[in-house]
């Protein structure tokens, strides 16, 4: 810890000498606007201000960042790019290829980011060998949340295989409880789908199918089995799931109307906001199967003119990866820090599980990017897959047809 502080201080020194006397400026485009999120980002702003910087806030929420991306394109085309932008996954590389990203390697190398981040996450932050983005957090996507009372009342353990899950669901259904709370929105369907791919096919299959887009994997029997499981799970969802917001699904679990929900760890925030205690009122576990699907939020720096803004970028990058911000932000957000050396004492049980699993899976090579949250694939491809997944889930399409459609859609999106 001490050592780190020293490094940070020297980085600031480097940055400061590089952009002498310019007061750091940053206009930050992000889509964290709801109460908890906003408070989390505010921490960053305060630190930024404490270091003499001026933070200009440019929030654009909506559609999981779609609206922000619309605004970003317009800003870049008009030659008026924001200083820093909330970007994630392959989109970072896509923007890099457009030649509009700034290089923050100076800060990253001074701060030794390469050793502080799990390798697969660090890869997302690099563009052709240089650092171009700073990670904020790690959301785990493959969580299954449960109402503790319901499980106890029905004598059910948290499932560790999909078969166990199915058995539990049958039991619950017989008891008149909706087994799975789900919101029928495309991205939620995709979230469930990728956890099933991971659980049924295993990490290697997940990587082949949803990262490499290997046609053999996409058309394999395993993929048919995945769609079969999706069909089974469609039976565990209540009739009115369509279009439901995820948080209303979470509320169903809280209120005892449903037993399980498969959702990333932001769902924890909803439970906490309602005063529920993890491990007592509600339970968290990874979805069946080995592996860890991460959704890493990060900030990319755009090429801008002006020493003040360049200084702002360096300072921002450094603060984002700073241990204090990583801790405070993630405590608020429900996620865990991206850097692995942050003290987790203040975090809850679920976060601990998440952190342990992250380092474990990182070693085993099963720390994988979430396709549903734009970490694994470029927009066109992940969108094409989601189209098929949601079409299958919301109709009586056969698994074989779905697999065929999936292969076609992926080919057509190239």
């Amino acid at each position: 810890m001490k050592k780190f502080t020293f490094a940070a201080a020297s980085a600031v020194a480097i940055v400061a000498s590089g952009a002498a006397f310019a007061e750091p400026q940053a206009e930050v485009l992000h889509w964290w606007t709801s109460g908890g999120e906003a408070k989390s980002v505010a921490v960053l702003q305060e630190e930024f201000a404490a270091n003499g910087g001026t933070w200009t806030d440019m929030p654009v929420a909506g559609g999981g960042g779609d609206a922000a991306m619309t605004a970003l394109r317009a800003r870049v085309l008009s030659g008026n790019a924001p200083t820093a932008v909330q970007l994630k996954g392959p989109a970072i590389q896509e923007w890099y290829e457009e030649g509009v990203l700034a290089d923050i390697s100076a800060v990253a190398e001074a701060e030794n980011w390469a050793n502080l981040l799990p390798a697969s996450i660090a890869a997302h932050m690099q563009c052709e060998g240089s650092w171009c983005a700073a990670p904020v957090n790690v959301h785990r996507v493959d969580w299954i949340w449960a109402n503790a009372d319901i499980l106890e009342a029905n004598g059910i353990e948290m499932p560790t295989t999909w078969d166990e899950f199915n058995a539990a669901a049958e039991k619950l259904q017989a008891a008149g409880i909706t087994p799975l709370a789900h919101g029928g929105q495309a991205w939620q369907d995709a979230t469930v789908f990728e956890t099933v791919v991971l659980g049924v096919g295993g990490p290697e299959f997940f990587h082949k199918a949803l990262v490499e887009l290997d046609q053999d994997a996409l058309t394999s029997d395993t993929m048919v089995a995945v769609f079969d499981q999706m069909r089974t799970m469609r039976g565990y969802v209540d009739d009115n799931f369509s279009g439901r917001d995820w948080n209303l699904a979470t509320a169903m679990v809280m209120n005892g109307e449903a037993a399980f929900q498969i959702m990333g760890d932001w769902a924890k925030g909803e439970f906490m906001a309602a005063g529920k205690v993890p491990g007592e009122d509600f339970l968290c576990a990874s979805t069946p199967g080995d592996g860890y699907l991460y959704n890493v939020d990060s900030f990319a720096m755009f090429d801008v003119d002006g020493d003040d803004k360049v200084a702002g970028q360096a300072l921002l990058a450094e603060l984002i990866m700073g241990p204090n911000f990583q801790e405070v932000f993630n405590l608020n957000k429900g996620s865990i820090p991206a850097r692995t050396d942050v003290d987790l004492a203040a975090f809850d049980v679920c976060a601990h599980t998440s952190a342990e699993d992250m380092s474990g899976t990182s070693e085993r090579g099963s720390l994988l990017p979430s396709y549903a949250h734009g970490m694994a694939l470029r927009g066109a491809q992940s969108g094409a897959i989601t189209d098929v997944v949601t079409a299958h889930f919301n109709s009586d399409m056969s698994s074989a047809d779905a697999v065929q459609m999936l292969a076609d859609a992926v080919a057509n999106s190239m």
């Binding site: 559609g63 999981g64 779609d66 609206a67 991306m69 619309t70 394109r73 870049v76 085309l77 989109a91 896509e94 923007w95 290829e97 457009e98 029928g184 929105q185 495309a186 369907d189 209540d238 009739d239 009115n240 799931f241 369509s242 279009g243 439901r244 470029r378 927009g379 066109a380 992940s382 969108g383 189209d387 949601t390 079409a391 299958h392 889930f393 919301n394 109709s395 459609m405 076609d408 859609a409 057509n412 999106s413």
Partner: protein, 291 residues
């Protein structure tokens, strides 16, 4: 010089607007046409690659659904809004004492942004929360109204909300039309002992043909541009069952970084608009010539 200016002042006045429209509408359409022939992804690129984007577009089942939906939604939205608008206008035209209040009630949805109203509609139409639950709560346990969650019927809920938003405006158009019909004709008809409904169907409504045309144009413009409505109400779901060309295009351009694809879908949309608007313009111009 001043003579010249005097003679050409109308053209000079119109020129800036015309140039603006030429550039910002037609220039941009040309730009879109160009981009639709490229492989633009995240940002526009300008190397022409042929009709690859159109081939991809027509190969995408989601685009089929979007066009089908536009047809279903467009037809129903326009027809129902017109019928409802006309009906409400006729009802309101019967010397209603509270007309001001009722008219405002019918008209206000136009003033609301769909961003949030969509959520309210989502709840109302959701079987577990809204109308179905309410009616079941009254004891009619078999009552079913689950269009929102049914892939085949969800597009009709979009129609319901769309009609809700726009029919008030159509009502206003028709009400204005009814009020501008020559009162003498109606008096004459009443003296002849023609029943009220016949007066409407045979005399008043046929005389409002231009209003039907205006309403049609406004409604088709809304139908083609419908975007917020779908995003807020169904998000295009279940699945992509309620996708419309406008939402398809937006998704391609801005969430999927597939600008070439978005441009090609925009061009097809524009062709549809063209097919609707050009006959209208033609009739407008012909009418102008007859003056």
């Amino acid at each position: 010089m001043s003579e010249w200016l005097e003679r050409h002042v109308p053209k000079v006045v119109l020129a800036p607007s015309f140039v603006a429209i030429l550039f910002f509408v037609y220039g941009f359409i040309a730009w879109t046409a160009w981009v639709s022939l490229t492989r633009s992804r995240l940002m526009p690129k300008y190397d022409i690659e042929g009709f690859i984007q159109y081939e991809r577009l027509f190969a995408a089942p989601r685009w089929d659904t979007a066009m089908n939906n536009l047809f279903i939604f467009g037809t129903l939205f326009i027809v129902i809004s017109m019928i409802l608008g006309l009906l409400l206008a006729i009802l309101l035209d019967q010397k209603i004492r509270t007309e001001g209040v009722i008219r405002t009630i019918y008209l206000y949805p136009m003033a609301l942004s769909m961003i949030v109203t969509g959520t309210a509609w989502k709840w109302i139409l959701n079987p577990g929360l809204g109308i179905e639950a309410m009616v079941r709560g009254w004891g009619y346990e078999d009552f079913k109204f689950d269009w929102l969650v049914n892939s085949d019927l969800a597009i009709y809920t979009v129609v319901i909300a769309g009609v809700w938003q726009s029919s008030g405006f159509v009502m206003a158009l028709f009400l204005a039309g009814l009020r501008s019909v020559d009162g003498e004709i109606i008096k004459a008809a009443q003296v002849d002992g023609i029943p009220t409904w016949r007066i409407y169907s045979a005399i008043i409504i046929p005389s409002m043909a231009p209003i039907f045309l205006s309403a049609f144009i406004v409604l088709s413009h809304l139908a083609i541009k419908s975007f917020d409505l779908v995003i807020a109400l169904t998000g295009g779901g279940p699945g992509y069952a309620t996708d419309l060309p406008a939402t398809y295009m937006y998704a391609m351009a801005f969430s999927r970084g597939d600008i070439g694809q978005a441009a090609s879908s925009a061009m097809i949309m524009m062709a549809v608009v063209f097919a609707i608007v050009v006959p209208y313009l033609y009739s407008e111009l012909r009418a102008a010539k007859n003056d």
